[in-house]
Symmetry: C2
Subunit: 329 residues, 2 copies
């Protein structure tokens, strides 16, 4: 008999998991699974069914998780708690329960508090997303090549943890085991801070009296920098509520960094050498991350800039010549 996998919450992530599982079993006939989906909104569940993300929709949450070998809770963080509370009586002994929420320390605390010892909880967080949320943007390849964080509960059964790692690989992602508190600290900087940055940029610019004109000139740079402001408000709110400490600390450090740039910019010509080095450094660091440039190239460029070119004073020659000879070619 096919193993039952229940997906609770059929948004972008839950829907994409369903589509990825469906694609996997089409590739590999040995993967005999039944994918059952539940969503509070029957229209969303119907859509997931029509898209092939689930084999059938189950209106009743308890029926959805009953006899499931694996239960995947793909809702915003705070809803995970509610779902855990509700499904507990219906969980099959030996089931593996996981979630996909953006913060993990609170989720692991709830799982320890609410779930019976007969099931194993392994928190999950796929590091993948898209501009627009919702089942209509779900796709089977969303997790392809992505890092997928896994935080097993302290009492997790080893074999179930291995099941979760295999599940992640079936989705096309790479398992990354991490302590839940460490996870929350890391994602505060590279995911939650960028979300707040995007939100503040949208609220600051759109509140300006000149926005009516600014909006016409805003192009791809504004589009990319504000992308995370188009995320689900409930998801973003829950992130703030469950990752408050690390996020506030990152915002404080980020404001300090902005103040530093503001100072350099306000100083004008006098600070231009230092500002040039900053822009060159962030370009090098960002390209190194995004395109895997070799580390020594970057540092060599910065050295050459600082000790020779910046003293020459010929603006047209300065950075550009050096950059042109760099790895961009």
């Amino acid at each position: 008999m096919a193993d039952k996998i229940a997906i609770v919450g059929l948004g972008l992530i839950g829907g994409s998991i369903g589509l990825a599982l469906d694609a996997a079993r089409k590739r590999d006939k040995h993967l005999t699974i039944e994918i059952v989906g539940h969503d509070r909104d029957p229209e969303v569940a119907n859509k997931a069914k029509r898209m092939g993300a689930i084999d059938r929709a189950e209106w009743n949450l308890l029926s959805a998780v009953e006899r499931a070998a694996m239960v995947i809770i793909a809702t915003p963080v705070l809803a995970v708690r509610t779902v855990l509370e509700q499904i507990t009586p219906a969980l099959a002994p030996g089931a593996t329960v996981t979630d996909t929420a953006s913060t993990k320390a609170e989720v692991l605390r709830w799982a320890a508090e609410l779930l019976p010892d007969t099931v194993t909880f392994v928190g999950g967080h796929p590091m993948a997303g898209k501009e627009l949320p919702g089942i209509e943007h779900a796709e089977a390849t969303l997790f392809q090549g992505a890092v997928y964080c896994l935080c097993p509960a302290l009492n997790a059964e080893q074999s179930r943890v291995e099941t979760m790692a295999a599940f992640v690989e079936v989705l096309g992602a790479r398992p990354y085991f991490v302590d839940p508190h460490e996870h929350d600290g890391l994602v505060a900087g590279i995911s939650h801070l960028p979300m707040v940055i995007a939100a503040a940029l949208v609220s600051a610019t759109t509140a300006d009296p000149a926005w009516r004109e600014m909006r016409k000139l805003a192009a791809s740079g504004y589009r990319d920098t504000t992308r995370l402001a188009s995320g689900e408000p409930q998801m973003n709110l829950d992130i703030c509520l469950t990752n408050r400490g690390p996020l506030v600390s990152w915002i404080d450090r980020y404001i300090d960094e902005l103040q530093r740039y503001r100072q350099l910019i306000a100083e004008g010509e006098a600070a231009s050498e230092q500002l040039a080095r900053e822009f060159l450094r962030v370009q090098t660091e960002r390209d190194r991350w995004a395109y895997g440039k070799r580390d020594d190239e970057g540092s060599e460029r910065i050295e050459r800039i600082s000790f020779t070119q910046l003293l020459m004073g010929d603006r047209f020659a300065r950075l550009t010549d050096y950059l042109r000879r760099s790895e961009r070619k």
Copy 2:
């Protein structure tokens, strides 16, 4: 005889203008132009020639602009001044001179100071870009549908201003006439501030001791928010030096906005209603800008949230239900 168009500076923008002009004359045989390119780096000019962005490369700047009906200076801002100084003796009477730099007030000041009365200067700024700079990323369609700011000099000849508008349309862009100081104020908010935001995010995160782990988890959200940090350092430096006042003022306002979010996040549960409204508002505003959503839908959503759902206290139902019924379907 074909009109000569000279492009000085063959990076992403100069190269894309050449490619777009070439595509335009292939579409319309009546457009008889010769595209001559100059770049300080002979390798770049050769590459532009091989890519078909220019008909021929001219190593000597003065020879490049001699007898040209139109001269397009596509360098970072401060280099525009140097080029204007150098080309003045070689400009043909009646020529139209333009640039593509990111700030306009200083450029118009230099043009008034340096150019003879026999030529017309119309500053330009195409609101289009790409993640990576350089001739190798140039493409004919870069300006398709983009807004293209035009700032005619005070003494500009009307017929030449019309030529510039036609030129912009040939590139596939839409001319947008604007006062140079107003231009600089507008782009400070939607283009230069986002660039500083991206740079500060990269420098704050990559300097963290945990970056070695963070970099593995960083995904598309981080990639998009930091995109502008991969821009040309010289271009970014010049922007800061020539648009200092408006940019510093925007950074200050942005820091205030971040402080406001920081406060709400630090307050936790107590401020969650207000924070929810913020995230909903920025999602609505950003989607309205990016996807042209109708204004009334957004405000209606905010109203409904604030007066009914937020009082109910059922987190799982709260925002999500309302969002699901919204225009995202």
